[in-house]
Amino acid sequence: MLKHTLYIIFSIFSISLIAQTNFKPVKDTVLLKEKINTLSKTTNTLESDFTQVKTLSMLSEKITSKGHFCFQKTNLLRWEYSSPYTYIIVINKDKVLIKDDSKLKKYDMNSNKVFKEINDIMISCIDGSILSSNKFKIAYGENDKAYRLELTPLIKGMKESLKKIYMYFDKAVTSVTKLEMIETTDDFTVIDFTNKKVNGAIPAEKFILK
């Protein structure tokens, strides 16, 4: 009996895994690109809660962070982590502001290659400009629930750290629902966006830290 129950549980689990990963190539990529371009053109602000899970594959360890994020065109971004500790990072044009333990630090984006690289990826994924980027080769996939863009880095400096980025959109292409970043070491980060609010008013103070 136990054997049968375990078999059923295992089968259900396997089917759900296949459903998550079974993406077929998109037949009409022109239409999908148009939808994503329309989305990026019509999205002026975006707010969302997020859950970020970093999986360190070799260590079989997951680190979960939670928070809220705000985006406003052009190049205004706020990641506010509330767990496992409070940490706010604001990108305001070419300035990086970090609030950590009530201490505020300001940096010029161009003075730190690491920040610039991470920021470029994040912003271009959210505002859709990644589609016109020559930094990635893009493959378009779909299943019955979602579209998935598979981005393979092409440029030196990025190829050494990132193997793939997967961007997931709901079938109506109303927003990015999930981001997956696979590193060359096979560690990966999954960011799930929930409670999204598109084109709502975001107070300007959100992108200023004092």
Binding site: Q52, K54, L56, M58, L59, E61, K62, I63, T64, S65, W79, Y81, S83, P84, Y85, Y87, I89, I98, D100, K105, Y107, S111, N112, K113, V114, E117, I118, M122, G157, E160, S161, M181, E183, T185, D187, T189, I191
Partner: protein
């Protein structure tokens, strides 16, 4: 007058140099032998993984994130530093007492930086002293011990807390003006709650670690 000032400066520099190298007089040499985990409590154990909120000031750059220490088998553990946004910055493999940088994020991946990080992380985890032959000095008034060792032109000083084998601070003196100071604080469960390292010299590095519970990061 100028010559007098120069002479004074020279003499005071020499005085500082000599006094900074000396063992404080309140510490008396007790014995010389292998320093074990009974003498100084290791910072990490094989049974549990530890997660630290981490700030790293490297030259004029500032990195923040999470530092995880985890044992992967009986002789190997890893120190992995990940930024808040999820980017892995480095992964140091620790096999027995030797640290090796397995991965370093491209902009930081320079031999001077990786060696500095390997050495200073090893210093934080007390690898230069544990299971090595060193001198033990006792301070009867403050009831704590000082353990010293000299290796590869570096002198290491480890001070324990009063009436305890928990490390309170360590100082490493190297060539010229290279000096490294690490201060440790433990919580009520005898786990290292915070660690602060300051590395002075041609290469400058500051590391601040504050422990967060792994449950909090895994919920």
């Amino acid at each position: 007058m100028a010559l007098f000032r120069l002479k004074n400066l020279y003499l005071s520099s020499l005085l500082i140099l000599f006094t900074s190298c000396a063992i404080p007089s309140r510490y008396k040499l007790a014995q010389q032998r292998v320093i074990t985990a009974t003498d100084i409590q290791p910072l990490v154990s094989a049974n549990n993984s530890i997660l630290y909120k981490t700030q790293i000031f490297l030259f004029n750059k500032y990195y923040t994130g999470l530092l995880l220490h985890k044992q992967t088998d009986s002789t190997t553990s890893h120190l992995v530093f990940v930024t808040e946004l999820g980017m892995k910055m480095f992964d140091i493999e620790i096999k027995k007492d030797s640290l090796k940088m397995l991965y370093c994020f491209a902009p930081m991946n320079k031999s001077k930086i990786t060696t500095l990080l390997e050495n200073d992380m090893g210093q934080i985890l007390l690898y230069p002293i544990l299971n090595k032959t060193g001198k033990i000095y006792v301070n009867k008034k403050q009831e704590n011990n000082l353990y010293t060792i000299k290796e590869n032109s570096k002198r290491y000083y480890y001070y324990t807390e009063a009436n305890s084998n928990k490390i309170a601070k360590s100082i490493v003196k190297g060539k010229l003006f290279t000096k490294q100071k690490t201060v440790y604080k433990f919580d009520a469960d005898n786990l290292p709650e915070s660690v602060s390292l300051k590395h002075k010299g041609l290469l400058r590095l500051k590391i601040k670690l504050n422990r967060i519970s792994t449950d909090k990061a895994n919920d």
